[in-house]
Every structure is written in structure tokens, then in C-alpha cells.
Symmetry: C2
Subunit: 146 residues, 2 copies
Amino acid sequence: MPTMTAAQKRAQAKAEYDAFLANCPSRQLLDRISDKWVALVLAALGSDCPHPDGAGEPRSMRYSELSRQLAGVSQKMLTQTLRSLERDGLLTRTVTPTVPVTVTYELTNLGLSLHGLMRGLKVWAETNMDDILTNREKYDTTGGAT
Amino acid sequence: MPTMTAAQKRAQAKAEYDAFLANCPSRQLLDRISDKWVALVLAALGSDCPHPDGAGEPRSMRYSELSRQLAGVSQKMLTQTLRSLERDGLLTRTVTPTVPVTVTYELTNLGLSLHGLMRGLKVWAETNMDDILTNREKYDTTGGAT
DNA sequence: AGTGCCTACTTCCCGTCGGAGAGTTACCCA
DNA sequence: TGGGTAACTCTCCGACGGGAAGTAGGCACT
């Protein structure tokens, strides 16, 4: 690939994002979205469960609502996760000056496109839990006691 | 849930797996698969790229091969990740007593079912990298300097 | 015989990250 | 003035990940 304009190079670079490479930006992105709380936040911010096949529409949720739904998340991690997702443009943060201030979060279109995958992960985990548990038992019994 | 056989309880538990609950086993599973290295290992252990639309067949790879492909992974994390994936029955570990011992890893059917999702994540990251980068710039410029 | 090397780990040290929980701000109402 | 609530923010600390060096054991070369 010798003679090439900058634009062409850029276009090719875009096409060549490869998360397998340590220094590729997409690696950092994959790292960020490969996160328990990111997955759960994105899964939560779609419809609850009405459309198991379709992706589901974005659903705006309040901070406290998310905190309740994602049982066990610390406030620190929830805030931190939401901030990074907002920064990446996956969701929007809206402050409404009500009695005590109300903050709502809602998926953007970009976020919605990830939502499908994340919901897929969640569903996969719930679906294959039994198999996994069985495999673990087998592994621990068979190979565990060397 | 008073009178119930163990089998009934198990059946109900299966139906009620919900990764949103902190104490649900599927939460732990989601936590485990929401991992940078897990995602990359699973993505790597499918065909390289020949069938961008189809999932791709499982491809057995050697330890050193994985180590090379997943640039930047520490041996410790690679071993650790592979072990946990083996324990969960997502891949098989095969030791061949060749010159220096050769260890190959290959996806099981269960692993293959996750492979699709992981590849999806990786592709998503590579595809939307530009948007994300743009959003970050915008965010850092707009909201960064309060 | 001894030295070296190769693969696939394992061990140790240490910096960073996540969890727990208390504190803070801002506003309204009694 | 005191209390209550939502959405954080701060602090401490233990656990986890990365880097690098050490290990096993079998062949190959000198």
C-alpha cells in the first residue's frame, strides 16, 4: 500500500480497527463495554422484557431506579459507569429541577445498538446457567482432586 | 414457596434466573463473561474472519498462538481466563505430548454459542469506534471545561 | 555429561480498581 | 430551625490485574 492519500489511509485505518491489537482504540472500547455494570445498565435501559425477540425501545430511567434494578451496584460504580457511557454518547443524562432534583438516563441510538448485544449476553447467561453449573461440577469433581 | 420438591425448586429457579438480581448465579456468570480477555479469547477461537455474517466454526488454537493474537495479554491472565472458560465448559483443553508439550484450546458448542455474541461485541466496537471518539471529543470540549 | 532452550505455565510484588458506607449539596416543607 | 429526599462525592481498604522472573521436563547440540 504505497501511494495513498491521507483520506484513503484514514478510510483504510477505519476499516482496519482490530480489537486484537493492543494499541487499537477499539481494544479500549471493547475493554470498557466488557464490564458487568455497563452490560447491566445497557440491558436495563431498554424495555424491561415485553419484546423478547425485538431489541426493545429505549426507556428512560432515573438514577434511583437504575440503582434499584441493578441490585448490588455501588453508587460510586453506577455514577462512574453512567458518566463514561454518557461521555461515549451511549446514553443521555437529563437533569430536571423538580422538588429534589431528578436525573434521568436514556439510551441514544448508538446505545440502543449495543443494547441488543448486551441483552443478548444477559439472556445467554440466564439461559445457559444450568449447563455452566453442571460443567463446573463435572470439572471440579473430575479434575479438581488431582 | 413452602411445599416443593428439590426438582420443582430447581425448575422454578431456572425459569427465574435474572442477572439483575445480585445473588442470582447468572449475575456471576454475566460478570465472568463481561471480561475483556474472555471476550477476546472467545472471539479468537472462532474462524478468523472468513464468514463475517455467519458465526464461523470453532478453530483450535495453541496457547502461544492465542498469546500472540491477543496482543498484550499477560500469561497469567491468559492461563487464568482459559482455565475458567474450560471449567465452565466453554472450551476444551487438549495436551499433546509432542517435542515440547503442545496445548490446544477449542470451543465447545456452548462456547460457540457465546462466540457469536462476543464477535458481535468486537465488531460493534470496531464499527462504532469513530462515533465514540467523536462523542468523547464533544463531551470533553463541551462539558469538560465547566 | 552438561548446558541450553522451548512451551506452557506458576509465583511474587505492587499499583490500580471496585465495594462499603458515611458525608455533601440543594431544595422544600412543617 | 430541623428534617427529609435525590443524586452524588469522598475515604478507606481489600482484592484483582499486569510485569517479570522462576519452574518442569524433554530433546538437542557440544
